[in-house]
Subunit: 347 residues, 4 copies
């Protein structure tokens, strides 16, 4: 079976394995205080064009989300998220387990939330006479790309920044698949823009070539204080922290991170074109490594004999949207084969 069901079916980019092997017996201090972590942090600072940002390496996305949110909010404050946001649906209540409510906003078919929707929700809160009986919205959580593979434009991010400034909110961007967003042919957003727009965001490693690990970038001075305590408390501090540093070192040298993500985006685009070319519409246009073609049930059944992918959403009695994911590890010949099969089986 060829797997297109997610972007974490393989191990790690070979550069990572190589670096791990090469440095294996070197002795270093623990908990991320080694020189590899420091180098990786500096590479990220350079890529961001900022020396004043804090960079922390955490073990995974849910860990990053719950650590950041728990560090930033007081007990009565909540976080606005698209209804389809990962923190609202797919983290087994991780945020609530730290005591905070996720305040869902309609995310639409793209899973994005707009500055206007944020402003509306916040105004509704403060205009309510009994707002002290309600959770206070204090943070905005967005994913880029979203769960649905969509991207914010630079203007949309600037508008969110503006409403956050005006309303005293923090903007947090979940970049679990950030590489596929930055490398997209269809984006005007750079790491520098994220530093300008977000109070805190993370650069996903797990889904973009690392074995695991996310690099949390904090730009807002008030969020920097004591962050390491909270990483430790939530169980996200790796004793052999250098291994997280090594991975981001490998990914950020020679811009490997964006390069491998670009190839994945291109393979995804080939699949999308093959689908539409064969007469199958997409659930929504996606400029990143996830594609959601709407296929007839019998075609899905036939493809399922050879490929693994996710059933995303039933469209009508004879059609489903499926999710096809490429990744840094996707082989061109596997995509060729899938495309050929779609074309062959469409009739």
């Amino acid at each position: 079976m060829i797997m297109f069901n997610c972007d974490y079916n393989e191990g790690a980019h070979p550069k990572i394995i190589e670096l791990l092997e090469k440095t294996n017996f070197e002795q270093t201090p623990g908990y991320g205080e080694d020189h590899y972590c420091e180098k990786a942090r500096n590479l990220i600072r350079k890529a961001c064009g900022r020396n004043d940002i804090d960079v922390h390496f955490l073990t995974g996305g849910t860990q990053a989300n719950l650590t950041v949110i728990s560090a930033a909010l007081r007990t009565h404050q909540g976080v606005l998220s698209a209804h389809t946001g990962h923190i609202n649906i797919h983290e087994a209540g991780a945020i609530e387990a730290t005591g905070h409510k996720v305040l869902p906003l309609p995310g639409g078919s793209e899973g994005k939330i707009s500055a206007a929707a944020v402003e509306g929700a916040v105004r509704l809160h403060w205009e309510d006479e009994t707002h002290e009986h309600m959770v206070q919205p204090k943070m905005v959580y967005i994913s880029h790309p979203t769960e649905n593979g969509a991207l914010y434009s630079k203007d949309e991010l600037l508008a969110l920044r503006e409403v956050c400034d005006r309303k005293g909110l923090l903007l947090f961007l979940d970049g679990a698949r950030l590489g596929y967003g930055l490398a997209s042919a269809d984006t005007d957003v750079t790491l520098k823009d994220l530093c300008r727009c977000c109070d805190v965001f993370y650069i996903g490693g797990t889904k973009v070539g690392a074995l695991f690990g996310e690099a949390v970038v904090i730009t807002n001075e008030s969020l920097k204080e004591d962050f390491c305590y909270i990483i430790k408390q939530k169980g996200g501090m790796l004793a052999k922290g250098r291994f997280l540093g090594l991975q981001f070192l490998a990914l950020f040298e020679d811009d490997t991170y964006t390069k491998i993500a670009r190839e994945a985006d291109e393979q995804a685009a080939r699949i999308a074109r093959a689908c539409t070319g064969a007469g199958f519409p997409l659930l929504a246009a996606s400029p990143t490594n996830q594609q959601f073609p709407i296929l007839p049930d019998d075609l899905i059944a036939r493809l399922s004999e050879k490929y693994v992918f996710s059933h995303w959403e039933r469209i009508d009695s004879s059609h489903c949207a499926i999710r096809i994911c490429t990744s840094w590890a996707t082989r061109s010949e596997d995509v060729d084969e899938l495309i050929a099969d779609i074309q062959a089986l469409k009739a």
Copy 2:
């Protein structure tokens, strides 16, 4: 500088790196549902002599502690621990952050707690007329080896089991350094004994040859239900879970886990003998990979120029106990050199 300050200064056992490399491009399902994890679980079941245990791979020790405790206790229940226990001192309030009080018991110089001490604390609770105003002791947390390198005997563990049965308590054993305990020349405790005595325990990987990872073993039926939800909620579920499986596969094939731990214990014993031979007492006898010699301050200063170790406890105005750790990666020639230096510098 030669580092003896902890057991996580190096990377991973070469077998792990090798296996990682060999399997890197294989496609597998995520979240620990792959065949490597299944094989590793089966190897651990075999080593435990039990087919009815659940085995889960988590990312680290604090993560394992907070996940197990949070899964097991109701909101009004607490966990008894030696005052020096890791959960009481060195996890930045991880347990309290899940809502539960750590109920400290005096741990003595060895960091152990006895069945009698547990029984006393529990009796005190239930005899108090206002016990409903107090945290209900429901779990006993012990480390084996303890923070101080000490080990429980089989009789001590059986006595704890007995009091737990009689008082309706759960017994949880933190085995972050378990390998060094199981491999000790001075123990009568086996994995099978742990399965018999504990409701839940874990087999530490991070400090015994893995890059990271702990294998949580659940023997008590009532603790098995829904455990995966809680791993996910607390951020300890690795997307590329197979990498945890691979590591325990490498460690539990051919009994590598115990073999490499035994070598570390032996190197530690050599250092201990060198110290006592040179006239320096040990803070307490330790049969595992940590040794706590009491040295004069000037000797400590001289050794510090060449070796890294921890200052543990001031003994008097001119002596300190230090902690020297060996590990699966300790080189015999480094120990030779340290011993030679202690002998040369003692005068």
Copy 3:
């Protein structure tokens, strides 16, 4: 100004004040272990027709909700509620602060949830391959009357009970305004039915004649254990607990609780009839003490000079639904006056 904005504008029913005064200097044990509490518990048991229920007196509704939910759920479990449910909107994140997600279901205009909706949500959870990444629905929370004054029928409650039994869920009924529901001319639900249908529910005092206090009734054996610890932990245990007992004693002697609620319902019905008689529709029919007439803005402005009520929902550019509440303390002459003013001002 005459206040119709809520059902807690006045103090307590005179029988309560009288009893308080009469018993004031008697010495009793604290924390609800006195004979008044015991008598009140027995009166409630009698009214429920059950000797095997546990009855606890708590200080308020939010307190009761967070205590019950926190006592019943494990960390990964959540509670299904109508989107408009009090716990989802108006408790400042009280439930999330105990670590649990409120899982909202559409409540419709009445604020009720159906057995079918519950079944659907639960099926969706368990059918999802990754359900261990999602909050597990374990409890169903309903209000009776709802926030919108609506009532469940006995059949609806039995259907909820049935789906809860079949799916392993707990049914929790928030009875902050229960008296007004039990006393309604339009209900077939009795306290005995609630005992049969619910695992736990409470009989609201605060809004039905007490100064404060809710009587939590637990019918499910598994929820009874250790409940007092959790009352204490959450701050809901009154030192002079007898005062809670005294209030429910006064309310449950001679069925005072239902009698005073019935009068309030009747006054509310008079207002509803006056509105519809004057040509003003109701947002939804309510058989209890809250009415939601839709009035023209200028009439609302005129009434606002003399009466206090809540603006509930804008209907169109010139009409709003308002909420008018009666209570055990509503004076008939105030209702006469309001009705006369509505009739006089309608043109």
Copy 4:
């Protein structure tokens, strides 16, 4: 039986009952936004000599403790307390349930903690290289009077203030029995001093003449923001909040609060003198309403036939310390009788 076992055996001071009765049918807004609460707040501001303090009325002591601490701390921060402190022992883990560790300090026989002890603990934290792995001490919790009836001197409070300023800590004073402290013949501490020394403290009502209720006083600007949200979230906001205002109104008019406490202190002193006069030592000198005489077991047995009091601590095989509490409601003739019995039975 005559009860001396606590200070909450009776109802409320008659002025409170009277005021409650008088105002019962008046209509007011809920949640403490009525004019009685406002008057009570102003009386307290006046007694404190400060117009810039925030005053909030909460339902009880545990509620006040958990609300204040949860409002003040970030997730990785803990609260220093005497080991015997109420939050450490007698609140069923209320503080931990909000996610925060109580950091115990030895409290000595008086249950007090010194500025030096606080400074030592805080220094130890910051000097530890791995302090980010430990709970950060951020707040100091003291009781005045303590659980053991002892009082801080003004100098001791000023010293605590000084170390808190120097180390960036918050000082929180639990005044559940504050009246008995302020009224003591043996104190130099006034409400004004508390405002000067504490960031936040509360004036206990429950144990000093109210049916229930504590007035939380916030002097530190940074703790004022959004406090009402957190009162609501934790379940401490009374719908008929005016009843809390009425009680403090009654207590703070004409200095009733101190007057009734002074009588209780004097009755307690009479009992203490009778004990020492009869040759029975006190466990520790107490200048407030609790006394801890050490009595022979047979005398205790005889007194137990007629009086209710608490067994506090076994002293030796034939002696126990007991706790005798007076209160605002203690009758002089009951004290006469107790004293006579002690004298008659001593032989």
